[in-house]
Amino acid sequence: MAVEAPARPEAPAPRRSGLRHRLAERGVDRVLLLLVPAVLVIGLLFLYPMLYGVGLSLQPKNGGGPFGNYADFFKDSYQRGTVWKTLRLALPAALINVGASVPIAYRLRGRFRGRRVLTALLVLPVTLGTVLVADGLLRYLGPKGWFNRVLLDLHIVDEPVRLIYNYWGVLLSLLITGFPFAFLLVLSYMSGIDPTLERAAATLGAGPWQRMRRVVLPLLAPGLATTFVLAFVLAFSVFPSANLVGEPAGETRVMAIAAYQAAFEKYDYSMASTIAVLMGVFELLVISVTLLLRGRLYTGPASGGKGS
């Protein structure tokens, strides 16, 4: 009966039961009703505000055509600079977090006593949150904090190192809050690689470095790309730490701060939406490039054994 499947599922059917049957063949039946509340919520609370924001950004307060706000943003070097300042924080933070996770996860994947405790310790900062880490950095790295005191007493430096209220404070806070997250993901990707593969490589005469370079890293690469994307997303929305341990008027005036100031200090919701949209665009740009590169990597099974 339904040998020639209709091009559109809504195509008129001779009998009602026939239509339902053919819809069900394409996977459309009452089970999909379960999806409706979730789609409604996301549509109402995410899609509609986003589209509203895009619309708002095209209606500049100061006039100048639909793209006036975008032009203003790129003409003003104080605003334009926020893009570079954000990327200058988020890219190194994400790269360092992912890069540092690889050797540590590699050491931690075997079974040994204290593995669970060590993992828990490394994951702990996830719960600290950016605000708490920022507060702690102010105490610990401040001119009278313990860190500078140790350096001074050991005569490594002559005067306190300035690590807060500038770029380094924010980068450190991003490393502390972002590392556990990247580490968790890398660890679970690393655990997904069958250890027998490496043993096989060792049997065939591969040294430790060759095993890492030729077996583990290629299998891990897609996971690393995904982790980088998620770590980058986390680091890209630096807001509390850039305000608290950074220099929010200068070196660490990231896009989030610019958007917040436009919305809640100047009450220019149109400009705020413009910056928010640009934030999304720049972030998705980096993500797409990463995912494109990821598409060129091997993405097969990472298990060995008998025909599995």
Partner: protein, 289 residues
């Protein structure tokens, strides 16, 4: 290295000892953990100190900052609000998200990729990006500053998260189990409540706890939408820390310690139910020795 090439049959040993590179890695981990510990400890010490101008430790110790902070920041109210908002968000995200995850796992329908993309976007975009338009809309409909508004804003990242965690969990369950239940005469509701929910319980717990932790730590969205009566602990902490000089630093640190204690309790509960390495993939434990 030793973890791989050590002969089988040996008992588990302490940290795998290797060559120089291994020691370098452990040294870096140690350096990171020591600094992190000192960072946390300096906040705790400061919250108990009377005055701390110079020297290694404060001049005296007191616990009065805690009662000060409790009264001054109305922490009782803030904690109640935090708990209420978090629990409502978790409940709503689970009730809406679990069935959606089920539908996405079991059915292949036209437009499925669009739905998946729509659910992935809130996870991929930084909260500020959609938080500012969302706050604008919520202010327009006079929901901003209310509990409803804060719950709605927090639901945006929480709901897709539940769906994305639940979908692989449902895929693991054999669809034949459901068919068998139906053959035995179970109605749809019974299949759900008596077959699926018990089987999905580990996944539901994991998703719920992860959403709980994320909502307590979610700063940006709550900050953009809440006012003084509907703010959570983290927003309250930020407001206090961002206006230094008005409040004593020790009182702010006392609040930070209370927040830290809350998160630590949540982390312990989370680790009891969720194996952290199983979030993205089913982990295959190293073969038994």
């Amino acid at each position: 290295m030793t973890a791989i090439s050590r002969p089988r049959g040996l008992p588990k040993r302490a940290l795998p000892k290797g060559r120089l590179s291994a020691w370098l890695v452990w040294a870096c981990v140690g350096f990171f953990l020591i600094n992190l510990g000192a960072l946390i400890f300096s906040v705790i010490v400061n919250s108990f100190g009377t005055k701390w101008f110079s020297g290694w430790l404060p001049q005296g110790f007191t616990s009065s900052w805690y009662s000060d902070a409790w009264d001054e920041f109305a922490l009782g109210d803030v904690l109640t609000v935090t708990l209420e908002i978090t629990l409502i968000v978790v409940a709503l995200a689970l009730v809406i998200g679990v069935p959606a995850g089920y539908a996405l796992a079991r059915r292949d329908f036209p437009g499925k990729r669009i739905v998946m993309f729509l659910l992935l976007l809130p996870v991929l975009l930084p909260p500020i990006t959609y938080g500012i338009p969302l706050a604008t809309v919520l202010y327009k409909v006079h929901l901003a500053g209310t509990m409803t508004g804060v719950v709605a804003a927090n639901l945006v990242p929480a709901l897709p998260f539940v769906v994305l965690v639940m979908t692989p969990f449902v895929e693991q369950i054999d669809a034949n189990v459901e068919s068998a239940a139906r053959m035995c005469g179970a109605r749809t509701g019974q299949v759900f409540m008596r077959v699926l929910v018990p089987l999905l319980l580990p996944g539901i717990l994991a998703a719920g706890i992860l959403v709980l932790v994320r909502t307590v730590a979610m700063f940006e969205l709550t900050f953009l939408v809440a006012d003084a009566d509907s703010q959570t602990l983290i927003v309250s902490l930020y407001s206090a820390a961002f206006t230094p000089g008005i409040r004593a630093a020790q009182a702010i640190d006392a609040m930070a310690v209370i927040y830290m204690a809350l998160s630590a309790v949540l982390l312990v509960i989370a680790l009891m139910f969720v194996n952290p390495t199983q979030i993205v993939a089913q982990v295959r434990e190293a073969p038994a020795e």
